[in-house]
Amino acid sequence: MNALTYESPGSLDEAVKLLAAAKGNAKVLAGGTDLLVQLRMGMIKPAMIIDIKKIPELTAINEENGGYRVGASVSGAVLGEHDGMKAAWPGVVEAFELIGSTQIQGRASMGGNLCNGSPAADAVPAMIAADAVCTIAGPNGRREAKVEDIVTGPGQTSLANGEIVVDFLFPARPARSGDAYLRFIPRTEMDIAVVGAGISLTLDDAGVCTDARVALGAVAPTQLLLQDGAAALIGSKLDGAAMEKLDAAARAACRPITDKRGTIEYRIKVAGVLARRAAKIAQQRAEG
């Protein structure tokens, strides 16, 4: 029987050192709501668990140039009570709060949601739509990367050995901006997204969309950032024609699989529906 050691370093440097030294045999533990499940199911057999919740930077939320820097291990319950983030990025907060139940919310983090690499992770499309940038600490120091560049496939990320996601920067919002996230699940909670759609947009005084980002989840091996989706919205007032274009762009971008959670045809169709519905909610929020 192999032993499993548990470490809970108080600094990032220490954590990175431990992680790099383990050469792939260690796993970072944030909330553990993915990790512990995988451990118990025998899907992973690490020799070391490195708990990162004792590292202050990872659990802090700070205002920065009108935007917010959110630690990678901040729990859903904590972010859900942050007035600044709720006002600036309600779509991100609602996506994160959709994860699991009250119990899971007390543990689950956005860092874990992202680094677990699930195509269906709920917070990720909203973070991509928000154009969030993550700070990554590793053996060679720090670097920055866009959220959409982290996940490379189911269960896979672009993080190198020894790298840890430190925080996410959600930029300052121009006036008349709004975001929203919707997912489809057959139940009302405790389920994995069959399709997820995150949209962030900015309107001018006349209500014309000047900027937009559209992201989809659960319809391809990774989350998708839809340029065509943004193009469908920009320059429009989100009228019927724009909505149809967005719907078509969403459907065209999907590369889903048929599995126990949904068929290809179903996922494609619902991706268009959710994109439209999320855009309308984001629009309402932008209009205040």
Binding site: M1, P186, E189, D191, Y266
Partner: protein
């Protein structure tokens, strides 16, 4: 006996449940909660194949692993004769049971047990399982019931020649038996019909999804006696099955039922219990075995998936003149689906002159089905109730009025044989029609559905003992595991019978060595049958108390009455002595003859059939196919509610499970026949936020054979929901869905195809 006019002190109220506190605090001891000194961990190796010959099993490496104390395979399980015995609402074959707890020569489903180990830790047991080498020859498999019936389907059992067909076939098949029920002449009936509707339906296999996984702790002594602790709906039945499987005298096995986290029929058979006993016998130490959720889904019995065809003919005034059905039920790997009750129930709610039902019991490569609330009835009645709804819509008739016109009533000859006694079907229909829900307005994309359901309910053997404690409180023991609030109901019936405070009665579930045989908790029998034993034992106590008072006063027992919890002198002696309380008499028990106790054992007959009618409003999202249940009302004739809140809970729980069956629950298999959704994440039972508060209406048409008028309650409420929801969806979108579950992709596809 007229029961309605009685005024009760406790019956029909909702006192605090005696098991509630410990369940809320976590103190209650469930199947996995018993620890014994030196206890080993038992684990089971399961087939990863849906159908495979087991060419060899090499356990030598596992046996050699330090910490492993016993390994068993089918070589350790005695071969039993093929012998059918009644098992509650179903039948059971001991040879099949032996082969189900440990595969013998052939693995018949993904999850079929092939070996088991007992080791000093869970990690060692897991490692030992990895060291067992099983050489499989994978065979073609079949899971779908209709595919399994085809002539060229892979055959599971080379010795299965369909029963119920003359001449008996000479070629083995997967059809274990055919069932036929017929009254009148359906052809003549259909010839008289102005409208005939026929439809085919499919329903998915669904699991009872009890919260507590199967668990057992077994301890064998050197003298050949054993104790078993397990979560079960019937510890006397577990004792009988295990004694048979292990070749023991019944007296040598004592079984204690732990607290139970749900059963719904699924814990009426054995899986781990005999395996834990065999491991303990071999290891000479206590063994605890607990299933994971994955094992529960793969290896314990859900109910059948099925294919049904139903044809109903009516005249223009709404009289049903003929009903015909063909029902094909999956039994799983071994014969014995609930096809018989399925056939019997199909048209039971209605007074129809001409009925013909044909049923098939079909084996397929999935876990053997177990009982699930009203086994068989929800499947056939879903089909019939859907067709009845379609007929009502085609006739332009209110669906409740159509049912009222054809409802079975007292004296109706049921299509399955007997004449109905006092029943309350029409009363449930009237209550549903009068309920404000039935006439509430609906919005866009919303629809309302109605459907009814029938179940027999059963009686059977039960025992109870009552001990009067030294202070006058009562210890009440029965042999019925409490899955639905029976302890509360038993305390109420004892307190009512004796006219004492309900809190003075402490009800428990006693082990198999402590009182008379009690058949399992199933068939909605416990409040009825065990309740009768409790009432009888309580009456004996009342008589004994009168005798003790008579002795105390030195008068004849005939001159003492027991009234409102007091012994009172009566007749010529009325007023001569101060009445004596139970506490007074208990305190003097030693002077009047010793401890006061009683026991009653009986075989209860005359169970009262149950009927329910449900109303459901849904809203369908036309773009995603998602169905939201907006409002749900369940009306049921319960005879007499003993503990009212528990009765409501039974009705709500049954409706919730039925809604899950209707909308999202299903077993999903991959192309190799392996179960792909063996977890609560992907086997979607409704979560609390999926459902509205389920409104209940309790109709009380007393069952004349029970002292308080009880009918069974627990099973009827799972029967109507599937058709109720389907009928509501049809009202909302104008499309009849005939395949369960009516999951969002299926609803959306139907919307897109317009059918």
């Amino acid at each position: 006996m007229t029961v309605e006019s009685k005024k009760y002190k406790w019956v029909g109220t909702s006192p605090v449940r005696p098991d509630g506190n410990d369940k809320v605090t976590g103190r209650a001891k469930f199947g996995a909660d018993l620890m014994l000194p030196g206890m080993l961990t038992g684990k089971v190796l399961r087939s990863p194949h849906a159908h495979a010959n087991i060419k060899s099993i090499d356990t030598s490496k596992a046996e050699a692993l330090p910490g492993v104390k016993a390994v068993i395979t089918s070589a350790d399980v005695a071969e039993l004769e093929s012998e059918w015995v009644p098992a509650g609402e179903l039948q059971l074959n001991f040879r099949d049971l032996a082969h189900n707890i440990m595969a013998n020569g052939k693995a018949l489903y993904d999850g079929h047990a092939v070996a088991a180990v007992a080791a000093t830790s869970a990690a060692i047991a897991d490692a030992a399982l990895d060291l067992i080498k099983v050489d499989y020859e994978v065979l073609p498999h079949v899971i779908d019931v209709e595919e399994a019936m085809e002539a060229d389907a892979p055959v599971l059992h080379a010795d299965m020649f369909t029963d119920g067909v003359t001449p008996k076939p000479t070629k083995a098949s997967n059809i274990f038996k055919e069932v036929d029920i017929a009254v009148g002449d359906v052809e003549a009936g259909f010839a008289k019909a102005d409208l005939v509707v026929e439809r085919s339906f499919k329903t998915a296999p669904v699991h009872q999804a009890y919260l507590e996984p199967h668990a057992a702790v077994a301890s064998f002594s050197e003298d050949g006696q054993a104790e078993l602790w397990c979560c079960t709906q019937g510890h006397f039945v577990v004792r009988a099955y295990c004694a048979k499987l292990l070749g023991m005298d019944i007296a040598d096995l004592r079984v204690t039922a732990s607290e139970i986290g749900g059963g719904f029929g699924g814990k009426t058979t054995v899986y781990l219990e005999p395996v834990a006993l065999m491991l303990s016998r071999k290891a000479g130490k206590p063994v605890r075995a607990v299933m994971t959720r994955d094992e529960v889904f793969r290896a314990s019995g859900p109910t059948s998936g099925a294919a049904s065809w139903v044809k109903v003919g009516v005249t223009n005034d709404g009289t049903i003149v003929a009903g015909e059905a063909i029902l094909k039920y999956q039994a799983g790997a071994f014969a014995g689906s609930p096809i018989q009750p399925g056939c019997m129930c199909a048209f039971a709610p209605y007074d129809i002159e001409n009925v013909k039902v044909k049923g098939y019991d079909v084996v397929t490569n999935r876990s053997k089905v177990a009982a699930y609330r009203a086994p068989g009835a929800p499947i056939s009645e879903h089909a019939v109730e859907s067709v009845i709804d379609e007929i009502a819509k085609k006739l332009g008739m209110d669906p409740i009025e159509l049912r009222e016109k054809n409802a079975a009533r007292e004296g109706t000859n049921a299509a399955y044989g007997p004449k109905f006694g006092v029943i309350g079907f029409a009363d449930t229909l009237a209550a549903a029609k009068a309920h404000p829900h039935y006439s509430a307005p609906l919005g866009p994309n919303q629809g309302r559905g109605v459907a009814s359901g029938f179940w027999f309910n059963i009686g059977g053997s039960s025992s109870a003992t009552v001990n009067v404690n030294e202070d006058g409180t009562l210890a009440l023991a029965t042999g019925s595991p409490d899955i639905g609030g029976s302890r509360a109901s038993m305390a109420i019936m004892a307190a009512e019978t004796l006219g004492i405070e309900v809190t003075d009665v402490r009800p428990i579930v006693a082990d198999t060595a402590s009182l008379g045989y009690t058949f399992l908790t199933g068939g909605s029998r416990v409040t009825f049958a065990t309740g009768m034993a409790v009432i009888e034992a309580s009456k004996k106590i009342a008589l004994e108390l009168r005798e003790r008072a008579a002795k105390t006063w030195d008068i004849s027992v005939d001159a003492v009455i027991w009234e409102d919890g007091l012994a009172k002198p009566a007749g010529a002696n009325a007023g001569d002595f101060e009445p004596l309380t139970l506490a007074d008499l208990a305190a003097k028990a030693n002077q009047t003859g010793g401890p006061i106790s009683s026991a009653a054992s009986l075989n209860a007959e005359g169970a009262g059939p149950g009927f329910g009618t449900h109303i459901c409003d849904v809203e369908v999202d036309p773009e995603t196919g998602a169905v939201k249940v907006l409002r749900y009302t369940a009306v049921q004739d319960c005879g007499q509610a003993i503990h009212k809140a528990y009765v409501e809970g039974q009705i709500q729980g049954g409706a919730a499970q039925g809604i899950g069956w209707a909308l999202n629950e299903e077993y999903i298999y991959d192309e190799k026949g392996r179960l792909d959704n063996a977890s609560f994440l992907d086997y979607r039972i409704p979560v609390a936020s999926d459902l509205p508060m389920i409104d209940t209406v309790i109709v009380e048409v007393a069952n004349p054979t029970h002292p308080y008028g009880v009918r069974g309650v627990g099973e009827v409420p799972i029967i109507p929901p599937m058709a109720t929801v389907a009928n509501a969806i049809d009202s909302a979108i104008g499309i009849r869905l005939t395949e369960l579950p009516m999951s969002p992709p299926r609803v959306l596809a139907a919307l897109d195809n317009g059918s």
